[in-house]
Structures are given as structure tokens and as C-alpha cells.
């Protein structure tokens, strides 16, 4: 009954989305003033229906109704209750439903927050957004129905993949999707702007908070994914250039370029066609990413047609959404005329360079991810693209880009002067060189990469601090005056500074974790110990115990350094009988200077337990850095700008007048 209710809600959502989309397009065309209110109401209705469907599926998981196929395939009565709930999106159908729910949640958020400005543009945005929702709901209903029944229903379910039974991974998809799907709003705004044939600084102002919100969610989502890999895979791998990871990195890169070019458009009324293209690309990559990954396309490159019907549907949606929007772009983008002029040395030109670099980096990741697929499609030849390719191409490109970060922040809009900026950044350069040399001297492992990474992080970090100090006139005027300048500084500037500072910390942490890591392993019997980087790790004992839906072996390790006793660490190995799979719960001692990371494997009778110990310097700063990066994005959302949108009523009426005459 509950399943049927959910399915019915989904069907209704499809209907409402279709009707709303068509009527809104017609209404905008005929200039019906009632259409805006109608579009808003329809958007909220879609959200309520999707929420109903999602709630139904959640109830089905909570009560373990194994007569529903996805529940039977992904749940088990012994599974802890929390994972019964997160299991709702731990499978293809459920995760697609979550995607749809978030999509309509964004539309509803726009409906609830939309100010009475640019009514035509916003109505068109609703129409485009509803089209996407309709396509998506149809995909759910026809090829991935989460409410499909199973008969005869089994006595118990097949349990959720144990790798997914982890708090990190449970929270990862919602965040990631909130990021992916958030870019649907900017996409719809871009399509609406193309239909209108007009885009300006006000468009950028309306769109910016949505872009920043989506970007912030995506940043958190990617960081959670990396953290999950770090803690769960048992060897501290946090990024492997795996196609699935690349699929989330590409929209992030495009989104990063987008929020930067959006700023140029808002300030200088230029880069219009480019910014619109980025808005389209960002969502296209999100869409391609979700679909290709979730349908198992990219996990193994050739699994594209796992379910041929589903594959065709996916391709159809991709062609309609991406192809359709790009065709519109080709037809209409020439209407978007810039008014601002570019001078070679200005903040906008450095931001353009930023865009080109990030765009190229994104293309590189795209190429690396899809190349094997292309090659196998056209020939029998095979080429594999892995981490070495990305390290050799992506990293240097990002490195050069980072050199620009502090310079860009300090250059003036319109006409900047490079020389005074560079003079002000001198301390950052000195600090960067000193840090690089220091890193070269302290660490003897892969010295060049470590030194470069440290120097870059220092350059960006100190550069940002100098920038802020300059803006506050710190030291030049009394402290109190600086403080009041700090309060008056627009939140957008704070957001930029905080995000760039977070970037510096992240770069430093990446350098530490990858260039200076140490590892050792040995077979240990209880009482035996091994040494790494001055630490002594002694295996105390190993004990078996039963968990809720697994059996586990827990190893206790005594850690000491020299004479000092540093306490005990506990690592686990779990075996999930239903799925016949094992997972590792590593023991990690986290300190600001680095992690001590212990995992152990299956014992051999004579030699004891294989114990692996790693030192990951500054690993904690990966998470802190990405949190600061996200905070920067959130701060910028809060920036209302110097003039609020509604205060520009006069401009609005002139716009409206122009529309009437044109």
C-alpha cells in the first residue's frame, strides 16, 4: 500500500512538472501576469509530491518490507536502524529518487525565496527546471522504479554493501547531490537568459547565491567522499583519480570557474556568453557525472549498457538537456553583448586566465576519464589512463594557477597596476621560497614535489593575509579603525579571502599526505612490535566479538615514542556474512602534525597478524582546509551586495518599459 502511494506520488509529480512547464512557457509568451504565481505554486507542489514518494520509500526501508525489490536487495532485518534509513539512497533507484527530491527542493526554494524582480526570467527558469524534473521523474518511473514489487517476497534481504555502512558514506551522496543538483538552478537561469536573449549584472546577482550554495555543497560532498576513502579503505587512499571521483571533480572545476566569471559579469558586465556557457557546462557535467556513475557506466568503463533500456533513456536525457541547451546557446549567445572593456592588467583579466586554466584542467580530467571509453568504442586498442597521467598534467596546471591567486585578489577591477601589487606581495614570495627551502631540507622524500607544494601553499596563504591586511590598512591606522573597516568589508571579499586561505591549507595538506607519507608493515604476534618514524607500535592482543550484522576481530595496539607511553589504539576487521564481504576499521591517532594510521589483515598461523602502519603528515588539515574552503563559499552567499535587488525598482521599470517597446 505504501509502495503504491509512493508510486502514485511520483506519477503525479511527473504530471505536475509537465503541465507546469508547458503552461509557463505559454504564459510567458502571451505575457499572462498570473503565470508567475502559477509557476511558483506548481514548483512547491512538485516538491511536496517528491517528498511524499521519498518518505514512502524511507518507511518501506524502516519496516523492512521485502516485498519491494530495492528493499530486499539492499536491506536486512539485522542491519542497524541508521543504515536502514541511509540504505534508502545506498542503491541506484533510491539514490535517483533522492536526486529528484533535491531537484524539486531547489525549485521550491527558488519559489519561496524569489523576490518580485525579473518575473519573466524567473518564470522561464521555473519552466526549464520543471522540464528537467519531468525528464527525471520519467526516468525514475520507466526504468528505475524504486517501488517495484518482488514476488514471492523473500524472508530476509541481501543487506547493504558493508562498505556503504559508514556514517561518512551515508552523508556523502546527499551532499554531493545537493551540489550537483544545485547547479540545475543556475542552468535553468542560463537557459532562461538565452531564451530572453538578455543577460546582465542583475542576472549575475540573482544567480550568484545559487551557484555559491551548489558549489559549497559540492565541496563538502567531495571532501566527505575523500574522508570516507581515507578512513574506510584501510590504507589511507583519499584520492585515486578514479572515474567516479573524476565525475565529481569535473562539475566542481567548472563550477569554480563559473563562480569566478560570474563575479566578472556582475562587476564589469562582460564575459557574458562565456559565463552562460559555464553555467550550462557545469550542470551538464553534473548530469553526465551522476548518470554515468550511478548507472555503473564509469565504474568499469564498459559497463555502459548494464541495462540497455536504462542506457538509452539516459542517453536520451543527456541529449535533450545538454544538446538542447547547447543548441539554444549556439542560436542565441550572439545576443549577449558585453559592455565592459578588458584591459590586460586588471582583476577581470586574471579571472579570465583563472577560467582558462580551470577550464583546461577540467577538459584534461574529462579526457583522462573518457579516453579509454572512446578508444574501445572505435578500435580494439586499449589505453589506460591513471594517476600518473593526472599527476603529470593536472598538478602542474593547478600549480601555475595558484601563483595567480593572491595577485588576482589584489589587482583592481578595470585597470590594475601589477608592480605595486607584486611589491606588496614580496613578503609572501619570501615566505614561500623560505618554506620551500625548509621543506627541501627537512624532508628527504620526493623533495621537489614537497618543496613546490609547500612554497605554493605558503604563497597563496600569506598572499591572502597580506591582501586582507592591506584592505584593513592594518598597522597604518589605529587598530580600532581597522576593526571597523573589517566589519564594513563586504562579505564577498571575506568569502574570497577565507576560501583562498582554505585552498592554501588544502594544498599544504595534500603535499604533506602525498609527498611525505611513510609506511611499514610486518607480521606481529601479540607482544611483538614494529617501529616507524620514532613510534613503537606493539600488538597487545586480538579479540573476536559479534556486531549487529557482522563478526569482528579487534586488535589493540600500544603506542609509544621513546620512553613516552602514548596510549592505546584499536583497529577492527569486520566480516559481513550476508554479503560475504570484509571491511576494515582502521585505528587512527590524529594530531595536528599528522596521523598515525594502523590497519591489520587476516592472520597466518605461524607468523601472526600482518600489521600495516602509516604516517600521513598533516592529514587532518585536508578536512580543515576543505571546511574553510566551504566556509568561504557560504560567507559569499551571505553577501547581499552594496545595493539590494529590490531597491532597484526604478531600474526594473525602465527594463520593463524597454521590453514593451522592443
Amino acid at each position: 500500500m505504501i509502495a503504491e502511494l509512493g508510486q502514485f506520488a511520483l506519477i503525479l509529480a511527473l504530471m505536475v512538472a509537465l503541465v507546469q512547464s508547458v503552461l509557463t512557457f505559454v504564459g510567458v509568451r502571451t505575457g499572462d501576469p498570473a503565470i508567475h504565481g502559477f509557476a511558483r505554486a506548481g514548483s512547491i507542489a512538485q516538491f511536496v509530491l517528491m517528498l511524499t514518494a521519498f518518505a514512502c520509500l524511507t518507511v518501506l526501508f524502516a519496516v523492512s518490507d521485502f516485498s519491494v525489490l530495492v528493499v530486499a536487495e539492499n536491506s536486512h532485518t539485522d542491519k542497524p536502524f541508521l543504515y536502514k534509513l541511509t540504505g534508502v539512497w545506498g542503491n541506484h533507484e533510491g539514490s535517483m529518487l533522492l536526486w529528484g527530491l533535491i531537484l524539486t527542493a531547489y525549485t521550491a526554494a527558488l519559489a519561496l525565496s524569489a523576490k518580485p524582480v525579473e518575473a519573466r526570467l524567473v518564470s522561464l527558469t521555473f519552466a526549464v527546471q520543471s522540464l528537467v524534473t519531468a525528464a527525471f521523474t520519467a526516468f525514475l518511473l520507466f526504468t528505475s522504479n524504486p517501488f517495484a514489487r518482488l514476488w514471492p517476497s523473500p524472508m530476509n534481504g541481501q543487506d547493504l554493501n558493508p562498505l556503504l555502512q559508514d556514517p561518512g558514506l551515508a552523508s556523502h551522496p546527499p551532499m554531493l547531490y545537493a551540489g550537483y543538483v544545485g547547479f540545475s538552478i543556475t542552468f535553468s537561469f542560463a537557459v532562461a537568459a538565452l531564451i530572453e536573449g538578455r543577460v546582465d549584472a542583475r542576472w549575475a546577482r540573482i544567480v550568484r547565491p545559487w551557484a555559491l550554495a551548489a558549489w559549497s555543497f559540492l565541496t563538502v560532498g567531495i571532501a566527505l567522499g575523500a574522508a570516507w576513502a581515507y578512513y574506510e579503505l584501510g590504507w589511507g587512499g583519499w584520492w585515486a583519480w578514479d572515474p567516479v571521483e573524476n565525475a565529481s571533480l569535473m562539475p566542481w572545476l567548472a563550477g569554480t570557474a563559473f563562480i569566478h566569471s560570474l563575479r566578472v559579469m556582475e562587476k564589469r558586465d562582460t564575459l557574458k556568453a562565456w559565463t552562460i556557457l559555464l553555467a550550462l557546462m557545469t550542470f551538464s557535467l553534473s548530469l553526465a557525472g551522476t548518470f554515468l556513475v550511478r548507472s555503473g557506466v564509469l565504474t568499469s568503463v564498459h559497463a555502459f549498457a548494464v541495462d540497455p533500456e536504462r542506457g538509452v533513456f539516459i542517453l536520451g536525457i543527456l541529449i535533450a538537456v545538454i544538446g538542447g541547451s547547447l543548441a539554444l546557446y549556439g542560436l542565441r549567445a550572439s545576443h549577449l553583448k558585453p559592455t565592459g572593456v578588458f584591459s590586460e592588467v586588471s582583476r577581470e583579466s586574471t579571472l579570465l586566465i583563472n577560467n582558462l586554466f580551470i577550464g583546461a584542467a577540467c577538459a584534461l580530467v574529462f579526457f583522462g576519464t573518457f579516453y579509454p571509453l572512446f578508444i574501445t568504442t572505435v578500435s580494439d586498442e586499449t589505453i589506460t589512463v591513471g594517476a600518473p597521467f593526472f599527476n603529470a598534467t593536472f598538478n602542474p596546471m593547478m600549480g601555475v594557477l595558484f601563483i595567480l591567486v593572491p595577485v588576482s585578489g589584489m589587482l583592481a577591477w578595470k585597470r590594475g597596476k601589477l608592480k605595486p601589487v607584486l611589491r606588496k606581495l614580496m613578503p609572501a614570495l619570501v615566505a614561500a621560497l623560505a618554506a620551500g627551502v625548509l621543506a627541501l631540507w627537512i624532508a628527504d622524500r620526493t623533495p621537489i614535489a614537497g618543496a613546490l607544494g609547500t612554497a605554493l601553499a605558503m604563497w597563496v596563504g600569506i598572499g591572502v593575509l597580506i591582501d586582507i591586511a592591506q584592505r584593513l590598512k592594518l598597522g597604518d591606522i589605529p587598530l580600532k579603525a581597522s576593526l571597523s573597516r573589517a566589519i564594513n568589508l563586504p562579505l564577498g571579499i571575506w568569502g574570497m579571502a577565507v576560501a583562498h586561505f582554505g585552498l592554501a591549507i588544502t594544498v599544504f595538506a595534500i603535499t604533506g599526505v602525498s609527498a611525505w607519507k611513510q609506511e611499514t608493515s610486518a607480521f606481529l604476534m601479540p607482544g611483538q612490535s614494529l617501529q616507524i618514524a620514532g613510534y613503537t607500535v606493539e600488538l597487545d592482543d586480538v579479540r573476536r566479538f559479534d556486531g549487529a550484522n557482522y563478526v569482528a576481530e579487534e586488535g589493540r595496539f600500544a603506542i609509544s615514542r621513546g620512553q613516552r607511553d602514548l596510549g592505546e589504539l584499536v583497529a577492527e576487521r569486520r566480516f559481513y556474512p550476508v554479503r560475504q564481504m570484509s571491511t576494515t576499521e582502521s585505528a587512527i591517532r590524529t594530531r595536528g602534525t599528522g596521523d598515525l594510521y594502523i590497519s591489520f589483515g587476516e592472520p597466518s598461523r605461524e607468523r601472526g597478524w600482518p600489521v600495516h602502519v602509516y604516517i600521513y603528515p598533516f592529514a587532518m588539515w585536508l578536512w580543515i582546509g576543505s571546511a574553510i574552503l566551504t566556509l568561504g563559499g557560504v560567507l559569499s552567499i551571505a553577501d547581499r551586495g552594496r545595493r539590494s535587488l529590490t531597491a532597484r525598482k526604478t531600474a526594473d521599470t525602465t527594463d520593463a518599459a524597454r521590453e514593451v517597446t522592443s
Binding site: L280, H302, V312, G330, G386, E602
Partner: protein
């Protein structure tokens, strides 16, 4: 000219879409291999960390066997693994493994954690042998006959159905064949 330039993104996407459509047409499990009915390319791989013997192409001759390409970094391999363990326990056919593009020690740790279904494992850290074999992604599995020829290639996860329906019958057929 400038206006045509604006259609460039669409043109690029059209090419992409065409490739996806082509990819869609292929049956994922049965990408034809140039190697079918040919001798396995010669290789001699070192052992993975902590193991004494590596894997050479010569090891596979004389008996029908499976050659499975895996990596600890590959999520579908984790899904496939219980099936391999089951095949290995049944003793129907020996499984040889190629650990593909793993960081040092990662493969060993992975097997310690999940169990080791392989008779011997070769370490293909750089992926050279995988290129000779035409591997496009992990997991991939070849059926090798007594004469050391490749008889079948399965791309992707070996599920219960693939094993019962395709691989096992072929293995039994090959085992029944007279030595040429």
C-alpha cells in the same frame, strides 16, 4: 564566422553523444578480444608484496584456468570477490590473478582482508601486461585452455548468472576436450 563558433560546444557534444551511443550498442560482457583462440601474450610478472611467486604466462599452460585482472582500487572487484572465493573453494578451476596498477602492498592488504582466491598472482604495477591483454578496466576475466590459448573474455563483474550460465559450462566443456 563568429556565430558559427558559438555552435562549437554543440558540435563537441554531438561527437560525445555519438560515442556514447556506440558504446551503448556493445554488450558489456562480451567485448570481442583479438586474443580469442590465440596464445596468451607472453609475460613474466613479479610477485606482489609479501608473496614468493609471481605469475608468468607459462604457469597457465597444461590446465584449463581463469585469469582474473583485479585491483584493490576497483569497487566492482570488491563486489566480484565473494564470487571468486566461491569458485576457488569449489575447486572446479584454478584462478590466476593479475594485480593491476596497485600501489605497492595495496593488493596484498586487500587479499589479506577479503581472502585470496588465486593460485598465483602477478604484480602488474605499470599496467604493461594489461595493455598486452587489452584490458580496458577491472575486473576482467579470461578463460585459458590447456594449450595456453585464450578462449573467452569476460568484461566486468562475474555474477552468479555469468558464472552458472556462461563461464562454468565453457570451463567444463574445455576440461572435457581432448588435449590437442
Amino acid at each position: 564566422m563568429n556565430r558559427l563558433f558559438l555552435f562549437l560546444p554543440l558540435a563537441l557534444f554531438a561527437v560525445m553523444a555519438a560515442y556514447f551511443a556506440l558504446g551503448l550498442r556493445e554488450n558489456p560482457g562480451e567485448i570481442p578480444s583479438q586474443l580469442i583462440d590465440r596464445e596468451l601474450p607472453a609475460f613474466d610478472l613479479p610477485p606482489i608484496q609479501g608473496h614468493e611467486t609471481g605469475l608468468a604466462s607459462a604457469d597457465l599452460a597444461g590446465e584449463v584456468s581463469l585469469l582474473n585482472v583485479f585491483g584493490s582500487w576497483c569497487p566492482p572487484c570488491a563486489i566480484e570477490h565473494p564470487m571468486l572465493m566461491q569458485i576457488s573453494r569449489s575447486g572446479v578451476v584454478p584462478i590466476y590473478g593479475i594485480d593491476w596498477k596497485d600501489p605497492p602492498g595495496a593488493g596484498t592488504r586487500w587479499l589479506e582482508r577479503n581472502g585470496n582466491p588465486y593460485v598465483r598472482i602477478g604484480n602488474d604495477a605499470e599496467g604493461r601486461v594489461a595493455i598486452d591483454l587489452g584490458i580496458t578496466g577491472a575486473p576482467e576475466t579470461f578463460i585459458i585452455d590447456r594449450a595456453g590459448r585464450v578462449r573467452y573474455r569476460h568484461v566486468g563483474v562475474i555474477t552468479e548468472e555469468v558464472w552458472e550460465g556462461t563461464l562454468l559450462p565453457l570451463v567444463e566443456h574445455l576440461q572435457a576436450e581432448e588435449m590437442p
